[in-house]
Symmetry: C2
Amino acid sequence: MGKRYEVCLSGSGGQGIILSGIILAEALGLYGGKFVAQTQSYGPEARGGASRTEVIVSDEEIDYPKAIKLDLLLAMNQKSCDEYYRDLKEDGMLIVDSTFVTQVPTSKAIQIPFTKIAREKFHREIVANIISLGTITEFMDIISPKDMEAAVLARVPQGTEKLNRDALKAGVMAARKFKESVKEKDSQPQELQRED
Amino acid sequence: MGKRYEVCLSGSGGQGIILSGIILAEALGLYGGKFVAQTQSYGPEARGGASRTEVIVSDEEIDYPKAIKLDLLLAMNQKSCDEYYRDLKEDGMLIVDSTFVTQVPTSKAIQIPFTKIAREKFHREIVANIISLGTITEFMDIISPKDMEAAVLARVPQGTEKLNRDALKAGVMAARKFKESVKEKDSQPQELQRED
């Protein structure tokens, strides 16, 4: 990894964004031994129901804990995708919940229907955030899957460990499937991009 | 309130410090309409089991989201009291869990045995953090008790609402009792300071 890696997780209140941020920060910091700063800010826009958290990772002590230019943006709804895409680096990674984000600003967006998977596979929309953490784990080389699992299990309610472990795995598998679909698309340029 | 008010909540991992920080930030930001930035940082000291979160509150947009000089420090164990007291403003407020903090650096410290109350009154050590939020609500004029209750209830596990509401109230009552004991002490200078 470089010296500093900036992540923003965003969506609506109730999608578990803040919990995801804590889990991601703890996977990298508490379990992974990196320097991590995680911040959530509340202002007029939070009162509109938006939820956003920033996770900064570094090999060195972090002087400025807020994101300057994002390496990775997770957008769990259309509004946060529209609003925060401009904060992404040119070669940054955009991951969207394609259940709600139907218009992406770049063809390179990683589109995975986290909430649809949560509903259909687990009958619990609430695990969409944990599925998205599985996808992030697969795409962010600096996270160890073992550390992520430990961080998830330490933060989810007692009795929901199996559900959340399975949700995390579903996110990893969805990410791999997406990678495959991109490979296929590259070899068959006419084919439309598939979402799931 | 002034332009900027800085709070640090600190203790050991497992004392629910991060959750307290989120609840405090949401009470002030989501429910109270203030600008709030809440940060937790992980570095070598986190791996030693320490837990620390910072909540910055302002009437204006917050440019720098980390604490510079604290207005309020909550120390839930001795180590965090020893370590972070130096970050407190000269007229800042120190609140300690006197279950674990037996040596205070100032006679002005607000000493309340949060964990002892949690154990004895609720038979659940885990609510010590919610009790401490009740005390903070009583001492921090800018928090509305109604906003704090709403923020607590939105973040605690389903089914524990009554327990946590009662814990919050116990923290308010303990704070009032402490204020009374200080008044008594001031009128009877010979009396020893009482902890509970």
